[in-house]
């Protein structure tokens, strides 16, 4: 018998379906994305361009045009010699004040809140649920209610107007939400891990520091980012609880931009604003991936 060789592939579709380069549906998506990006990036563009121009060029209008002659003078001035009401040493003073406020606030609030969350999940004590409810309630009380009582408390403690007073305020206000964040993350970890560590003779701190913290990098990242950006961007508490010597960067920025003496130096204002925003921005850029992972991990279980 002679077998006529059949072609192995018969006519008709085979394999993966060919894709057109740019389907109409894709085009729509890209167009929408483009419009949204422009909408968000245009102000940034204007700011960056303006901050690189000299005042004569700015007065000519054309706020969208790139600078004819690039100058970094406004950036230098914003950093080191712009005047804020009393003194004329630029934003640098505010920057260092902010650093001195943010670093201890972030470290203390996260250290305390992570232990809180851990204790609430793994070492349930009598009334721990009530305690947690009260703490959560704290997250929803309007700030305004607490401003004046805190003024009195800080005054009595002798911390009014000092950097440490503001650190205390930020630590307190960060506590509910960061505790919630850690509580949910630790609740999502298998309970048997905690039990195994207890059988292995680890105590309260041993389990926390040697078993749980090493596996909680994502959630610590989220907490650090939330706290750094939140505290860095704070204006209200900075104005209220510090004094000109200890003003954080945001308050100083406001004083530069809103100063009424002399001409408005738009380029210096833009540069100062960009400088102030640079810290939170770089935090996001550096830790973007970890941040997303942490958010996802924390969202698993309530």
């Amino acid at each position: 018998m002679i077998d006529a060789p059949f072609p192995r592939t018969l006519s008709g579709p085979a394999g993966s379906r060919p894709r057109t380069r740019i389907a109409p549906k894709r085009l729509m998506i890209y167009a929408a994305l483009l419009i949204v990006s422009v909408y968000y990036l245009l102000p940034l563009w204007v700011m960056v361009m303006t901050s690189l121009k000299g005042m004569p060029e700015i007065r000519m209008g054309n706020i969208f045009a790139p600078p004819v002659e690039i100058t970094f003078e406004p950036w230098v001035k914003a950093w080191s010699s712009a005047c804020t009401g009393l003194n004329c040493d630029g934003l640098s003073r505010g920057f260092w004040n902010s650093v001195m406020i943010v670093v201890p606030s972030v470290v203390i609030s996260i250290a305390v809140a992570s232990v809180n969350g851990y204790a609430l999940v793994n070492w349930k004590f009598r009334g721990s649920e009530v305690f947690f409810t009260i703490l959560l309630f704290g997250a929803f009380i309007p700030y305004q209610v607490m401003i004046y009582p805190l003024v009195i408390i800080l005054r009595e403690l002798g911390l009014m107007g000092s950097v440490w007073g503001l650190v205390l305020v930020h630590t307190i206000f960060g506590m509910p939400i960061i505790t919630l964040l850690f509580r949910n993350y630790f609740a999502s970890l298998p309970e048997e891990l905690f039990k195994a560590a207890r059988v292995d003779g680890a105590g309260f701190w041993g389990i926390f520091l040697r078993v749980l913290v090493p596996m909680s990098l994502p959630i610590f990242t989220v907490a650090v980012i939330l706290q750094i950006t939140g505290i860095w961007n704070d204006f209200l508490f900075g104005v209220i609880y510090t004094k000109p010597d200890t003003y954080p960067m945001t308050v100083q920025l406001n004083n530069i931009v809103n100063s009424v003496q002399g001409v408005k130096e738009y380029n210096v204002n833009m540069a100062a604003t960009l400088l102030t925003g640079l810290v939170p921005l770089s935090i996001y850029l550096i830790s973007g991936k970890l941040f997303v992972r942490g958010i996802a991990a924390g969202a698993v279980k309530g």
Binding site: P190, E192, L193, K195, A196, A197, R198, V199, D200, G201, A202, G206, R210, V211, P214, M215
Partner: protein, 369 residues
């Protein structure tokens, strides 16, 4: 009164773990009620029961991970009711392995010893020994994420092993593994027990694991031990209907009827003269139970004391043996026969069995008669 507050050493002699009147409630829900259990030195005890019957809770009480509401727990002659888990001389293996993800296998094995402040060379010696017993030497530097399920569970067992404890507690250690690995590790655990001769308390819902591993099985339901006996005793003489239906696969056949003057009268009539009654029987409603594998066909049926005719409804060939589904009266009836027997649905067959292998239960109390 005196002998209750005192703990006479004599009462605990030869016992590894002793549980006295243990009660555990979560709020208003009582999970364990007045539970008593004595486990001998070197015994392999399996706690068997359906999901949610309180096995893990009992094991956690023994480990000290859950505080009992009432009662006492003794381990190796010590009252450990208030002792910390690490001070009880127990090691525990969990279903989810519960390895510390950021530590290497070596770190996992030595964690407990480092917490206990054991000398460095002693730690190294014990880790090496455990690694050898469980064939973990090539894996010591790996993190748990780089291990297979079976390897992870061996590390978890090793973690209990290095601590040189008297009592091993296993909470469904094989449930997360696939069937083949489960069978392999089951034998490995049995071998481990034969070599180490430690007391082991093993929780499972898998009756094969229970039958193959246990010296004694405690069958639990609703926080109460239904029967505590050797595997074959439980298989041959189940203490009540629940145990009879739980042990054995496929489960025991049950026929409803009446017992009248040592005569079972239901869809079939069976004289129970040869049956080993636990107490002198009284007449009344009963359930007659016979295991599918204790029913004979063909020549064997002809010589059986009890014979009856059935019609084959469904057959399930499983290779080694074949399961026949039929009915006697209105009660479904299963028969397990040799896999090579040729049978088709609709066939009329004569089956036979011996009342001596049967079980008889009171229909009301469900207890064995």
């Amino acid at each position: 009164m005196l002998d209750q507050t005192h703990t006479p050493a004599a009462a605990l002699a030869g016992l590894s773990v002793s549980i006295r009147d243990l009660t555990l409630s979560f709020g208003s829900v009582t999970v364990l009620k007045d539970l008593n259990l004595d486990i001998g030195n070197g015994e392999f005890l399996v706690l068997l029961g359906a999901s949610g019957c309180g096995k893990s809770t009992l094991l956690n009480c023994i480990a000290g991970l859950i505080e009992p509401t009432g009662g006492q727990i003794f381990i190796s002659g010590q009252n450990v009711t208030w002792a910390e888990p690490s001070a009880r001389g127990i090691g525990m293996v969990f279903q989810s392995y519960a390895l510390y993800p950021q530590m290497t296998v070596e770190g996992n094995l030595s964690f407990g010893l480092r917490n206990a402040g054991v000398a460095r060379d002693e730690i190294a010696r014990r880790v090496a020994r455990a690694a050898e017993i469980l064939q973990l030497q090539p894996l010591l530097k790996r993190k748990p994420a780089a291990l297979s399920g079976g390897q992870r569970q061996r590390v978890a067992i090793g973690r209990a092993l290095v601590r040189d404890v008297d009592v091993f507690l296993f909470d469904e250690p094989l449930s997360n593994l696939d069937a083949k690995l489960r069978a392999e590790l089951r034998v490995e655990i049995k071998r481990l027990h034969q070599n180490l001769k430690n007391t082991m308390i093993y929780v499972t819902h898998d009756q094969i694991e229970a039958m193959t591993l246990a010296d004694r099985i405690a069958i639990m339901k609703g926080g109460i031990v239904q029967q505590l006996a050797a595997p074959l005793e439980i298989y041959n003489r189940p203490a009540n209907l629940y145990v009879a239906g739980f042990i054995g696969s496929p489960p025991m056949n049950f026929l409803k009827g009446r017992l009248e003057n040592r005569l079972f009268k239901g869809a079939i009539t069976v004289p129970m003269a040869d049956y080993d009654f636990t107490t002198a029987p009284t007449d009344g409603e009963v359930v007659f139970g016979i295991r599918p594998e204790h029913v004979a066909l063909g020549a064997a049926a002809e010589t059986s004391p009890i014979r009856t005719e059935i019609t084959v409804e469904v057959i399930e060939p499983m290779g080694a043996d074949t399961l026949i589904w039929t009915a006697i009266g209105t009660d479904p009836f299963r028969i397990r026969i040799d896999g090579q027997t040729r049978i088709a649905p609709g066939d009329r067959l004569t089956i036979g069995f011996d009342p001596a292998c049967a079980s008889l239960f009171d229909a009301k109390t469900e207890n064995r008669l």
